[in-house]
Structures are given as structure tokens and as C-alpha cells.
């Protein structure tokens, strides 16, 4: 099975970033290519030390809900976001960073985990990736 998955990671919410990485890693594991295009709130998660810092998309309750969900995830043996990111990288996944978001939000390359980012780009690159993809998602 060839094919490719391209995902726009617009949300920076912890649970949604999890979904993006789980889908992408599943695709890579099954022999597909995978590209993640981080934009807006999603791009915040690529700042150094910020990967798991997003709130829960629902019932965050000032972090109490997130704390409870994280505890339950740990009990269930769920992998950390950092591990999912490292696996994604090891299996050849591509991370793209939206340069307009960087401009708007005043994010510099040195603020981001530059070693993991394949390209700083815009919508043209997303379309170029997505047009050859069999699966594309907006998270």
C-alpha cells in the first residue's frame, strides 16, 4: 500500500495534537508517507518545550480536566506526545511549519524545534503535498 496522509494541525489542544500524531504514525507504520502542516495554534506546539502544553479541547476546567485525562492516559499505557513525535520523525514523517503564523505571532525559527522541521512554508506547499495524498485531514 503506497499513498500519503497530509494533515493540517491547526489546533494546539493536547488531545487534538495526539489525534494528529496517532493518525500520522499509523499511516507511516502501514507504509504510507505522512506530512503534518502546523499552523496557528498548532504551531505553538512546535515551540521548544511546548509540545504537551496545550489545554484539553473540552472539559479542560483550568487544567483540572487535562490533569485527570493525562492520569488516565498514563494508566492506560498511552505513549507521550514526545515519543509519538520522535517515532514520527524516525519513520520518515515530514513536519512543515506555516511561515505566516510565525510572522503574525512573532515566532522565530530559534523559538521552534528547528531540527525536526523539514520546511518553513505556506499554502502552496500544503496543496502540493495534499494533491498527491489519499487522505488529508484538518485537525
Amino acid at each position: 500500500m503506497a499513498g500519503k496522509v497530509t494533515i493540517i494541525v491547526h489546533s494546539g489542544d493536547m488531545d487534538k495534537v495526539y489525534s494528529a500524531f496517532i493518525v500520522a504514525n499509523g499511516a507511516l507504520a502501514m507504509g504510507m508517507e505522512a506530512s503534518l502542516f502546523f499552523t496557528f495554534w498548532g504551531l505553538q506546539r512546535l515551540k521548544k518545550g511546548e509540545l504537551g502544553k496545550g489545554p484539553l479541547s473540552k472539559m479542560n476546567m483550568l487544567g483540572l480536566g487535562k490533569w485527570m485525562v493525562k492520569r488516565r492516559m498514563k494508566k492506560a499505557g498511552a505513549a507521550s506526545l514526545e515519543r509519538l513525535l520522535q517515532d514520527f520523525h524516525e519513520l520518515g514523517g515530514k513536519i512543515l511549519a506555516c511561515d505566516m503564523t510565525m510572522q503574525i505571532m512573532g515566532i522565530k525559527k530559534e523559538d521552534l524545534r528547528d531540527d525536526l522541521i523539514s520546511d518553513y512554508c505556506a499554502v502552496g506547499t500544503y496543496i502540493d503535498e495534499a494533491k498527491d495524498s489519499t487522505i488529508t485531514l484538518f485537525i
Binding site: M1, I22, A29, G31, A78, A79, R83
Partner: protein
Amino acid sequence: MAEIKVDCTGETCPVPLVETRKALRKAKEGDIVEVIGTHPASKKEIPMAVKALGLELIDVQEEGGMWKIKIRK
């Protein structure tokens, strides 16, 4: 030909699938990769990945909630 063992006991989605893929990438042609684990969906999904990758599924066994999958690269 080497036999590579991957232990995913207690791990959940997507780790068993990803660890299987990592081991298969490192394996040489003809090597056997044996994965053990407890995550129920992975018992069905690892064989799906093996098929998608065009590799040979040698054996799938389960005993007491623990499964063992053998793959030839």
C-alpha cells in the same frame, strides 16, 4: 537470518503498530520479526500493516490475552 523480538506488552495504540514498523525497517530481507503484546486491536491491525507492506505473515497466536505475531521481511 536473524530473529528480532519486539515486546509491546502493556503498550496501547499506536505503539505496537509503530514498534513493529520500526523493527521491520531495521530488519534485513528474510529476517523474522516476532512481536508480542496485549493491545487487542493491534492483533488485527499488525497483520493489516503486514499485508499493506507486502510482507509475509507467518503466524498469529493468542493465549490468555497475550498475542504473538511472526512476520518475515
